[in-house]
């Protein structure tokens, strides 16, 4: 069953006139205004260097906005104290193109790692990791090291790690970038399932096929600005053309 995001309620993510200029002078984002209701599934699309990754970095508070405000779950990220940051990140599950798995830990240990840093008991770790492994269909691979897994399997481990602490938000930066189309599609099914359970998903992607097939909300970013916000959009051909031109 799919949950329909409620656009009438207060948004859980809100960007208000957000600008980001890096110390080098590069203006990565200009006057971004964006509202995301709870349970939304949102694609961030746009050519390389458009500002998608900066937006993701702002959202996980790796960067602060130069101007404007970002609210997540009622908290303004720019004013958040550094010591509160870990607690904020525990509400978020992160998935990256390069998986960011620890090569010297097994699949089980990699997923358990996210719980260990929260101080979970062995008992809690066992139960939750088993549940997460079940969600991503990786049962039987617990003792395998990442190097012995395929790209798709590695990304599934990363997703299991991202959702093992039951986050309210999943933020994914090009999660299918390193995967073949069939595997990418499998991974997308996983994200849809997590979204159906109630988690809000924000995903930066270049994968036109998937965006066009799923017809979810699409925010197109171009030259640091929001060029388009479609509630059930497509990747849009304009970007494809501009990418080809570039």
């Amino acid at each position: 069953m799919l949950l329909t995001p409620d656009f009438a309620t207060r948004p859980v993510i809100s960007f208000q006139h957000v600008h980001k200029t890096y110390p080098t002078g590069t203006e990565a984002l200009r006057d971004i205004n964006l509202e995301v209701p709870e349970g939304d599934f949102l694609f961030l699309v746009g050519p390389s260097g458009a500002g998608k990754s900066t937006l993701v970095r702002l959202l996980i508070r790796e960067e602060k906005p130069s101007k404007g405000k970002i609210f997540v779950d009622g908290v303004e990220l720019g004013r958040m104290k550094r010591r509160r940051l870990p607690h904020y990140r525990r509400k978020v599950g992160l998935v990256f193109q390069d998986f960011k798995l620890l090569p010297n830990l097994t699949v089980y240990e990699n997923i358990a790692f996210a719980l260990r840093v929260l101080g979970a008991s062995d008992h809690q770790v066992r139960d939750r990791v088993a549940e997460a492994l079940d969600t991503v269909s990786l049962y039987g691979k617990e003792s395998t090291y990442p190097a012995n897994l395929s790209g798709g399997e590695q990304q599934r481990v990363a997703i299991a790690r991202a959702l093992v602490h039951a986050p309210r938000f999943i933020i994914a930066d090009e999660p299918t970038g390193n995967l073949d189309p069939a595997t990418a599609w499998e991974i997308m099914q996983l994200f849809l399932r997590i979204n159906a359970r109630g988690a809000t998903v924000v995903m930066a992607t270049h994968n036109r096929e998937i965006v066009d097939l799923l017809r979810r909300r699409v925010i197109a970013i171009d030259a640091g600005q929001i060029a388009r916000d479609d509630r059930s959009g497509r990747y849009h051909d304009d970007f494809a053309k501009s990418e080809v031109r570039a």
């Binding site: 996980i60 550094r82 010591r83 940051l85 870990p86 607690h87 904020y88 990140r89 525990r90 978020v92 992160l94 960011k100 620890l102 790692f113 996210a114 260990r116 840093v117 929260l118 101080g119 008991s121 790690r161 602490h165």
Partner: protein, 297 residues
Amino acid sequence: MILRNLKFALNSAWQSFWRNLAVSLAAVLSITLILILAGINLLVGHAFSQVLDGFRTKVSQISINVSDDTPLQSVYDYQAQLAADPRVASVKFVTKDEALTQFKSDPQNFILAQQIEGNPLDAKLDVQVKSLDDVAAIDATARQWPGVDPTDPTNYQGDFINRMLQLSAWLGLAGDGLLVVLLIVSIVIVMNTIRTAVYHRRKEIEVMKLVGATEWFVRGPFVLEGVMTGLIAASIALALLAVGYEPVVTRFRADIGFIPLSYDPAFISSLARDLLVAGALLGALGSYIGVRRYVRI
């Protein structure tokens, strides 16, 4: 939860120590050498203070020479007066005859004693002063006493004593300065070890940050690793110093007899405490500064 976090931190620290074994061993070795130097400094300081204590006892005794025409009763009165002084430990009256006997009994005076006719020596009051700081004051009052020999009132050599005390103060200061330099060097070494450990574990740190580890959860293992490095180094340094202490003192005494150096086994336990505490603190401080600099959430 604190126990679980501590277990995790100890595990990580131990793993990191072995994973970067070359760097860890280099750090242990450097800090061991520094702590050995610091230990030698403390041992030499201790030996010197023992020698100085002996010297203090010697120089805190002065002889007041009594003029030949002073009546005996006046000498006894002054002896009683000195004995009643709270700064004075004891006063002994040495008659002219006793002084001559003492002089003659010293083999160094053998030739001179044969040429002496009569008794040119003064009777004297040997005064043992409790504190070296009061010797000058006792000397000053003795010189005011009418019964003193005006040509050679006392054997007090204030200048020499002051110089010795000054020298010992300077040596102490130089020792302390050397200790400070050694401590700073070891802190820098630990900082650099931690920087390497942070570099090796940067992926792990990144993942920790992203999954919401607190700053101290990330930093804790590095600080523990620093403490571990310091404690291992301190233990090795201590073992080497404890083994080498007695033979070196014995050898030194055999070669340079006039400096009364002594072996003090009780000092080993205080040295152990100092070195282990210093090792742990150095490790903790160096790695604390290191992680504050290199691990940011």
